[in-house]
């Protein structure tokens, strides 16, 4: 470890990577790609963490994506995410090595772990960035959408600078298998108190299309009005064979799960065709849709800001319009069949 300490005097950018069923999560590879870009400008190293009971070729994949060092911990105790172990290992090493930047995914793990680590390291943390760039003085410009604009947040005096980023904000880097990097095994902390212990994680197999890879997306907002109104939007996505997404108010109402939320703190999507139903075009949602070739919005308010952000607009109350649209689509499909 002493040799490595000397090498990393130039500073480093850290990524807390995640692995599931021996597969490194796409967001982790994307963050390593971004970290590599920033590290090259700052002439720093990229270092990542990867914890689990089996890592497969995860460490090699992180190196191929741009990491110089992968700190690993492999143990049966790490079969599931354990916040105490994760936080202890990351904070202990951070206090020793003083990284310049730490990036985490806006995942269920990252959302809980990042604020714990930031508070323990006495530093700032920016939530769900949609871009990270370096200012001329080398500080990290952490950009988030808010209040109809883009806000730049910096952490001027404390280190590390910390941010979380959702999957799909940055592109997945190509794997360069010729890159070399160090894989350093970390011991588990010896004095864990287990005041918090994850005892079970169940992830159901998804029947529906994944939002991230969908070509057609139907997204609904609070304008669905009721749970049954939401059901109609769900039905529309079904007959169009489209993935179904939503805005935060829909999650707050309990009509759909957090994992279907599109936007800054949810999923980043890049469909060819997007239909937004009963949503107002809030920036936090709209920044989640990248590069769609056709965008349509249906909203009963002709003044809704959503109509400034789409290609086709329809002013109608979605509770009556969606059933009508479903009928028309069904008629069209039948006509084609016969």
């Amino acid at each position: 470890m002493n040799d490595m300490k000397a090498e990393t005097n130039k500073g480093s950018i850290w990524v807390v990577a995640e692995i599931k069923d021996c597969m490194v999560k796409p967001v982790s590879l994307q963050l390593v790609g971004k970290a590599r870009e920033l590290a090259d400008q700052l002439q720093m190293d990229v270092e990542t963490f990867l914890f689990g009971d089996r890592l497969g070729d995860g460490p090699q994949l992180l190196v191929a994506a741009g990491a110089d060092t992968v700190y690993t911990a492999v143990s049966d105790e790490l079969e599931m995410y354990q916040p105490e172990l994760y936080a202890e290992m990351i904070c202990t090493l951070a206090k020793e090595k003083h990284p310049e930047i730490i990036l985490l995914g806006s995942t269920f793990i990252g959302r809980e772990l990042a604020p714990i680590v930031a508070a323990r390291l006495d530093t700032g943390l920016t939530a769900h960035c949609i871009n990270l760039v370096l200012n001329s003085d080398g500080t990290l410009d952490q950009q988030i959408p808010a209040y109809g604009g883009l806000i730049s947040i910096i952490c001027p005096d404390r280190r590390p600078q910390m941010a979380t980023v959702a999957e799909g904000v940055f592109s997945t880097p190509g794997a360069d298998r010729s890159r070399s990097g160090a894989v350093v095994s970390m011991p588990l902390p010896s004095d864990v108190r287990w005041r918090v212990k994850t005892v079970e994680i169940v992830e159901e197999q998804r029947q529906e299309q994944s939002l991230e890879s969908a070509s057609f997306i139907v997204a609904g907002g609070a304008g669905a009005g009721t749970h049954s109104g939401w059901g109609k939007i769900h039905e529309l996505s079904g007959i169009l064979n489209a993935a179904l997404g939503c805005t935060r108010p829909v999650v707050d109402e309990g009509w759909a799960g957090l994992e279907t939320m599109i936007g800054q703190s949810g999923k980043m999507v890049s469909p060819q065709f997007y239909i937004g139903v009963g949503l107002s075009g809030e920036l936090q949602h709209m920044v989640g849709i990248k590069g769609a070739s056709i965008m349509v919005a249906i909203n009963n308010d002709p003044k809704s800001p959503v109509f400034e952000q789409v290609d086709y607009g329809i002013v109608e109350d979605c509770t009556s319009f969606i059933p009508l649209l479903i009928e028309k689509i069904k008629a069209r499909v039948e006509q084609k069949v016969s």
Binding site: T107, F108, R111, E112, A114, P115, I116, A118, A119, R120, D122, T123, G124, L125, T126, A127, H128, N135, A146, Y147, G149, I151, S152, I153, I154, C155, R193, W194, R195, V196, K197, T198, I201, E203, D252, G254, G257, L258, E259, G281, V287, I294, V296, F307, E308, Q309, V310, D311, Y312, I314, V315, E316, S320, F321, L324, K328, I329, R332, V333, K336
Partner: protein, 265 residues
């Protein structure tokens, strides 16, 4: 049992889009937006009320904000909290999540012995989700986020269920602890008339940084590691074509657009 519930005054989510950045002056425009109790914090308060019913408890509602935020502390009292504390001080202004959590943790230390701290998992305006876990970290107590069910809630080691990607997580947690709650945990009751009457007699305690015995350097904008460096604009504009005619005609036009793009096969 002693429970502290953190509540935040937020702009009414229905009116939140009225808050905009003035592209010229790069400052926030807030046109008389009403403040309301953060929706998820109502679920945290309801969870506390249900625990009180089950085991008996003293509930303290704690908020940080300008004097007008006293209204949501009052509302928490009317909903059934026993004590209300508002942290209000010019020195607290401009706090980021870190400084907010630090200040709230200092207030909880001053409240004294407690078994449970409850927060909504996010606020509707900031939506960082950081304040709960950071309060816990400053108090050096365990935290579980996005709790949607209390599976075992007696004794000192609880079992809770949380939201997880396409599923759920079960976590054991040792009290005293902080839990942030998701909306699925319960259905908050509406304000009742008797509660409003009872709340009239309850006093709200207001604490400044002096009462918390913290330096001005550690709270508000001065205690915040992060700062807003710049407001910019974000271009999401497209040139829109509004479809005209009856609902029937609009639906037919949309079906055409869908068919041309291959969405209907």
């Amino acid at each position: 049992m002693k429970i502290v519930v953190c509540v935040k005054a937020v702009p009414d989510p229905k009116e939140a889009d009225k808050i905009r950045i003035d592209p010229e002056t790069k400052t926030l425009i807030r046109d008389n937006v009403d403040l309301t109790i953060n929706p998820l914090d109502k679920h945290a308060l309801e969870a506390a009320l249900q625990l009180k019913k089950k085991f008996g408890a003293t509930i303290t509602a704690l908020s940080m904000g300008p004097p007008v935020a006293g209204a949501i502390v009052k509302e928490s009292l009317a909903l059934g909290a026993d004590h209300g504390i508002l942290l209000s001080d010019r020195a607290f202004g401009g706090a980021d999540a870190f400084a907010t959590a630090y200040t709230l943790s200092k207030a909880i230390e001053k409240i004294g012995q407690f078994d449970l701290v409850l927060c909504g998992m996010a606020s509707s305006d900031g939506a960082t989700e950081w304040v709960g876990p950071q309060i816990a970290t400053f108090l050096q107590i365990p935290v579980v986020t996005m709790v949607n069910e209390l599976l075992h809630d007696s004794g000192e080691r609880w079992l809770v269920k949380t939201a997880w990607e396409n599923g759920y997580r079960k976590v054991e947690v040792q009290l005293p602890a902080l839990l942030t709650v998701a909306r699925e945990i319960n259905k908050p009751k509406n304000l009742g008339f008797s509660g409003i009457i009872k709340a009239r007699k309850k006093e709200i305690t207001t604490w400044s940084h002096e009462e918390l015995d913290v330096s001005e350097e550690c709270v508000g904008s001065r205690g915040s590691p992060t700062i807003v460096a710049d407001f910019g604009t974000l271009e999401t504009a497209r040139e829109v074509r509004m479809l005209e005619g009856s609902a029937e005609e609009k639906a037919e036009q949309l079906v055409e657009i869908l068919a041309e793009s291959g969405a209907i096969r």
